[in-house]
């Protein structure tokens, strides 16, 4: 029998640091899409409330759960993101939501980048065409949008201690290198 396969992350641990900002690839987050079935709204809401104690997020928002978040990712679709193994999260969701929604593993489809620091908004306004200022996009906001012609899901998250601002960026795995390139070429990360 062959040995266990060693996983690789989309960005091999990509990280950048500048005086007013940091960004780094995050790993270990399972992502399961939960797509609402016809007439499954009430049942799904109830199942999620029971499992995570939160209401489903409205479009343009996410709600925080233990070790993760539920993001409104499309019409009648949510991404449940949690620091756990994908199989475990899928099993949990299948147990609580079957009949109300269908679940698909998306954990390997996305690279996850955490952007933090005071320069976050200045960085985002160079990359993303939607309004990411805190006035229009406060903590709790999420959007499926594009950055440098790449699909992306962004969320302004509650910054960790000692940080002033933070974004989570999900970007497709296959083009994640170009997302990293775009970030690396945005001031204050970029200098010549």
């Amino acid at each position: 029998m062959a040995s266990q396969l060693t996983p690789t992350s989309p960005l091999s641990g990509f990280a950048l640091k500048a005086p007013q900002a940091e960004c780094a690839e995050q790993t270990g987050m399972a992502i399961i899409s939960v797509s609402m079935a016809k007439s499954g709204a009430k049942k799904l809401a109830s199942a999620m409330k029971g499992e995570y104690g939160v209401a489903l997020p409205l479009p343009g928002q996410y709600v925080a759960i233990k070790d993760g978040m539920i993001v409104s990712s499309a019409r009648d679709q949510f991404f449940v993101c949690q620091k756990t193994h994908p199989d475990k999260l899928l099993k949990t969701l299948l147990a609580c939501c079957s009949g109300a929604a269908t679940m698909t593993d998306q954990s390997d489809a996305w690279a996850q980048i955490m952007l933090s620091g005071a320069a976050c908004t200045a960085i985002m306004e160079r990359l993303c065409h939607i309004d990411t200022t805190s006035a229009a996009f406060p903590v709790g906001s999420a959007a499926r949008t594009s950055i440098e012609h790449m699909g992306a899901i962004i969320a302004r998250i509650k910054p960790a201690a000692k940080q002033t601002d933070a974004f989570m960026i999900l970007t497709p795995r296959s083009s994640a290198n170009d997302m990293a390139h775009a970030l690396a070429h945005t001031p204050p990360f970029f200098s010549i």
């Binding site: 062959a2 698909t104 390997d108 006035a135 229009a136 795995r173 083009s175 390139h181």
Partner: protein
Amino acid sequence: MSRSMRIKGGLIDRSAPLNFSFNGHDYHGYAGDTVASALLANDVHLVARSFKYHRPRGILTSGAEEPNALMTIGAGDDADPNTRATIAELYDNMIVKSQNHVGSLNFDLMAINDWLSPFLSAGFYYKTFMWPAAFWEKFYEPVIRRAAGLGALSGNEDPSLYDKGYRHADLLVIGGGVSGLMSALLAGRAGLRVILADEDFRFGGNALAMNGDIDSKSYADWINDTLDELAHFPHVTLMPRSTVFGVFDHGTYGVLENLSDHLPKQDKPPYRQIMWKIMAKRAILASGALERPVAFADNDRPGIMLSGAVREYANRYAVATGNNVAIMTNNDSGIDTAIDLLQAGVNVTALIDSRASAESHQNLPKDIRLIAGDTIARTSGRKRIRSVTLESGAKISADCLAVSGGWSPALHLTCHHRGRPVWNDDIVGFVPGGDLPPGLLLAGSVTGAMSTKACLDQAVTAVNTALKDLGKKTISKPKISAEDKAYHISPLWQMGSNPKARKFVDLQNDVSSKDIKLAHQEGYRSVEHLKRYTTMGMATDQGKTSNVLGLAIMAEQSGRSIADTGTTIFRPPYTPVPIGAFAGRSRGKAFRPIRLAPSHQWAKEHNADFVEAGAWLRAQWFTRKGETHWRQSVDREVLATRSAVGICDVSTLGKIDIQGRDANAFVNLVYANGFAKLPVGKTRYGLMLREDGFVMDDGTTARLGDNHYVMTTTTANAVLVYRHLEFCRQGIWPDLDVQLISTTEQYAQYAIAGPEARQLLNKIVDNGVDISDAAFPFMACGEISICNGIKARLFRISFSGELAYELAVPARYGDALIRLLMDIGQPLGITPYGTEALGVMRIEKGHPAGNELNGQTSAHHLGMGRMLNPNKDFIGKVMAMRPELTRDDGVRLVGLKPVDPNHAISAGAHIVAIGAATTSANDQGWVSSVAWSPMMQTSIALGFVTSGNTRYGEVVRAADPLRGNDVEVEIVSPHFFDPEGRRLHG
């Protein structure tokens, strides 16, 4: 040695002296200077040669509208040509050069053109260089281009970097003069998110050039206090050095911010400029007005400047533009210039007013010599004006002549949605019409308001309109005390009675009043035709100083009013924008995103040659030591796969997860062939049509559960098919309970093909997973585990025609899996293969791919007519049955092989009968795919031939006249290799 023309006052920083060179000569200036102000401070007026006649030219203006003083700034690859000296901020050790002369600026050999000017009138090129026609491109045009022009690029890649960005605002204020500042201030106080953008490096607009008070504060103090307050609003963004160059749809404004042109090389930030797209709910255009000249004999001499510019150089830059300044005006602003110059200690030799009397004459200081009711007949001085001779015969000494012909509102942005300006007799100029871009409001002299008080009042009104539109509480009108003089002007377009005199209208393009007259004589009556025939209003200044003057002269010619003559429409950009700024970061490898397959790194390490497949990079073959031609690699990969086992990364194929109670019905509806009875654990080939009945895509779809399917698409059509499915789901059958999500990125998927494929897989599947032919036959699918518990999906499908599987694992394991398979497959002779070998093998098997599914072929054309299931509904059903798509004598997919195996068939060749002429009339079809088949040891092809399925054995020609290849080919079955399909069932 130059003389210093510095005077007292000004807004320059005398504590920060700067050195710069102009044409190799060293000069001094100060921080706060432009190149133009610094040159004038050194008494340098001759700074350029004109476009066509190479006439000596000086600095006309003090702003972005400058037609003459175009410079090349910097050296080498960094050199930036055609930079307007009037807006280029001076920095230390700046290198400035003049342009468009042969020899020195002082002695330009091309000035001979000026003597030849009688032969070089409007339309000269069109009329003269007509024969012989071939000479135009090879001779005439290069010579003309060398003789006439602007600055030159280095010819190398632009070393500057450009970025783009996006900003959002409740209110964008365009222009940082007093109207714009007041607008931003009031909107900021009202809590709106405001962006204030101005092209200048210092806010204040025309107030920087003038003396006056607002609310008992000097203009300078009021500007500083306003900026201080604005800087304290977190919701207000100030953007100096930022030109709003275009108004686009839905409140989007193009803004070019200059970050580095004003800094010496060592201090420059990474990006030279940022192209901002600003999305604003409302915008206030407070762009002010531009002064215009008057046409008179030799009105282009160095030292002849616009009156407002002379005033600005004195008040803002502390520069006297001459020791003896004469002023020519037809309006009150020329009088203000005279007063300010007098206050600044500059000698005004005469104030000539074309008006015999004016209210403003009453208050003139006695020290100013007023000559009312007279105009200029001519001037003297080739490289610097020396004197002015009036129509009355009086001669006035002047080394600078300040001219004011009135003011034209800078209304360009109001026209970007096809708005038409309207004529206003009060200011003798065009003002914005009523059809403004949605959400754009106006304030200040862009409307024709000419007093400071009127401009500020308009700012209040505009802000209140914006507040009301945005559902906010309006503000009460503040008390504003400011200059509120009436403005008077009397039209004056041309001066002087000498019919032979050249009176320049458009200084940048050397267009004179005679050219306009000639254009009119030759029948060019539309202003748009006038522009194109004479070139008036073209090039970098886009006629900012010449437009109204030219129209007025045209109106004089035609006897129509200026209002009836109309104006040309202004389009973006307002001022020049480097192409590099439009491109932003999208250059070189960052031109667009590149998608990398899970095995990319491994493939790179193993000499893969990559090809672009949509946004993906795919390995097309792997070169091994000793291989000198790609065909060697591809042939080896094919032979190894067919004799042992090959592995190919097929992760790029689209994968769509389809779930829901109605998933079965949905899949059955989107495919033309039946899927209703596909059992769980089975895969089926599916043919998908567009609504118009043509084939859209093909692929296999696996049924993983009762209500769970995984559809595969071609790499190229992955997005298209997903979009199509979403349209069907949401738009056509909204009642179906179906959920879709792409899983293309989620899985690394490898095709493992060849007689040893099963043996290889058996090395990694976990205990209890049976992949024998009996347990896992052709077209089986299922979720399995490999390598001690890693979840995987296995599909027994074959594109190569071999015993083959596609194995999918979560993408995180993609790199490890290819390394493992290559390692444990060595004893079995494993070989990685790329897209070329994949293509060869599918052609050998007669499988259609992108070349055959080109959007113009039907199921019948592909020989798959029988797949169209008549017993069910499906997308494209009705249209697919059209006679033209189903007729028996239509084209059919066939195989083609050369009669002489040594001949190669060309892709794209057309099928014609033996002996027939290669004409469209004789066209019987085309060759869609070709390959050298290592198995058949000949060139083979797939193609579409009229009634091809009934003509097997017939010899025709595959004619490729473009490449001179004409090959006799036999029409055969498209299944060249293993037509019985024994191998894939192995």
